[in-house]
Symmetry: C2
Subunit: 397 residues, 2 copies
Amino acid sequence: MRMDKFPVTEMQTRLTKIKKLMQRDDIPSLLLLYKVDYFYFTGSMQTGLLYISTKGESIFFVKKYLKRAKEESPFPLILPLSSYKDLPKLIKDYVGFIPKRIGIEWDVVSVADYMRMQKLFPEVELVDGTPIIREIRKNKSQYEINKMKKAGLLGKKIYEEGRNFLKEGMSEIEFAGILEAIAKKNGHEGLLRMRGLNGEAYTWCVLSGESGGIISSIDAPTGGFGLSTAFPLGASRKKIKAHEPILVDFGAVTEGYQVDQTRIYSIGDLPDKFVDAYNAARKIEKSVIDAAKPGTPSENIYYLSLQMAKDLGYSDYFLGPKGAKVTFVGHGIGIELNELPFIAKGHKYPIEEDMTFATEIKLIFPNEAAIGIENTVWIKKDGYEKLTPISEEILLV
Amino acid sequence: MRMDKFPVTEMQTRLTKIKKLMQRDDIPSLLLLYKVDYFYFTGSMQTGLLYISTKGESIFFVKKYLKRAKEESPFPLILPLSSYKDLPKLIKDYVGFIPKRIGIEWDVVSVADYMRMQKLFPEVELVDGTPIIREIRKNKSQYEINKMKKAGLLGKKIYEEGRNFLKEGMSEIEFAGILEAIAKKNGHEGLLRMRGLNGEAYTWCVLSGESGGIISSIDAPTGGFGLSTAFPLGASRKKIKAHEPILVDFGAVTEGYQVDQTRIYSIGDLPDKFVDAYNAARKIEKSVIDAAKPGTPSENIYYLSLQMAKDLGYSDYFLGPKGAKVTFVGHGIGIELNELPFIAKGHKYPIEEDMTFATEIKLIFPNEAAIGIENTVWIKKDGYEKLTPISEEILLV
């Protein structure tokens, strides 16, 4: 078998773009320690780190496994690295100089690694490289959109095939496992990547009936009971019943690119209350997506969704019950599921062309259920495209 | 449904022990930001952070969700926290003083969080709290051993039920998905926790035939092809054939506690070469476990395993092919799969009673296969007990 090699043109475009941002912000070099971050520029997740310099050579240092890194990545200079200690000498030898400032990812790099780097580069100011890393990733290329479309098709398969297995009396976690098996068979890569300590993304969010009403332990509208205090989130041992909403929030990832999506299954008809709520959720989602035009401040869309929920009579349930509401209605997504933009309180930057985000339209009825819809949307110059092509009707079994 | 509440006595024992270590190392307070770390002392993974003080009160601060944290944890003082900014005032109010030194987890806390804490506590020296966090966790209590035994029984179920589904022509990733479904149905919590940036643990390590010979992109003896350059590890789309070794390394986790294990499946008989290699692996494992007596320097066991592999004629394959060998033959395990001890080069500390570790006995035949066995072992005063009770024969289908 052979891996797809990362296209040279895609790589060059990204490198040119980041170097402009580096110049703008006076960061002459970046040293990226986080796999996800250097994958974006090299096309490889082999263990190593990436040195990007605005002047002279940039170097992809590989600890393990060099041969495969070279197969995967068209990066012009890939060097073996046996120890971090060798970095200053190798950079001096190949780039010619050590700059005054190096950007590293302050939001994910540990204090220990920071201290280590500061020791290796005692004269260097280690500034925060995260803002430009996040900035460059917020607009997706056609190459990336194509990968996300693949993930969207994978998601469709998971939800559609899953429909054949859902049965009354099955536990939430059992159904979650079946979805996992379908997903893997169709190429799902298993790990949803999320930036930051304590950010444990997971696919087994199957919340039936009252499980949907449980308040989350994290900054998410839905929680669930989970399996134990060690993982108090997502699918539980609760048996799934007929005529109760079964919310499934299953992120799909293939070739490193993710889409996020939520649908409601039901075994037999749902009570009108929940059908009405679902229709309201769809309306709120439509207003969010319609409003997400290039130029609109992100925060405005969040406030609009609150107004829409109010107009429809769902204020008390939208984005969580009173006192435990989250303050976002969408999150950027790509190779991580917490990329820019956040459609959220306090996020005043404008929506831009080629942003992609997932809509988090969730209505929480404490002690009863969660109702929701979520799609991943690609914002275009004039309009949008949904990357998650699953039927938006309630998935009746 | 109700979660099991963390036993008060277990909590008190742990708190007493960590306070002794804090006094020994002159760390008057710890501020634990990593969920896994505060779970150990509180029994809760609700979003928050834990302040442990050797003098005065200790406080479990909870951002979300307070009610559930109080249900899960018997911690005497649990306070709501809406913003990190409130920490200094709350600590002053409830503990009475801000100490000169506070330990945080340098190995996982980000530079950004460190800077933020330094701003909040400008007079405080933020020292490294990781060494004592690792130290206290290296010896397991009977409560923890019981949880690990549960995980071991779960593992047994996964491997045994999996045997009924393995078929020629199935892809590795398809079989991996089936194992995942079996695991979840039986209470597997999905995420294997591993300390540190870039540490992506995963359960879908199904390596058939030549997939086992692929060199890993990480510091592990087995690699596999994976599904794409974005996840170049573990199960691939390769079809499983009869008469080839199928190595399955599937960590099991329940109630937060993990065991790690590896077995070889085979559809029909295996060639003698691989049967012989498997028998050698079992012998090497036995020598490792027998040598792991309280008092023995950890590193010695690693060197002994190399000697044993040499004596049996497997030096070229043991722990990786020439030029890509890993330098450990076991890793501590508990709520994370990289706890102390490491049975590894350079780890000179002694093995102790109530340590638990997984044996990494892997023989890599490039372009052919991987053969291996792995069990999780509990070291007792006189002897040991395996916590992974799956049959150690080749699992024939």
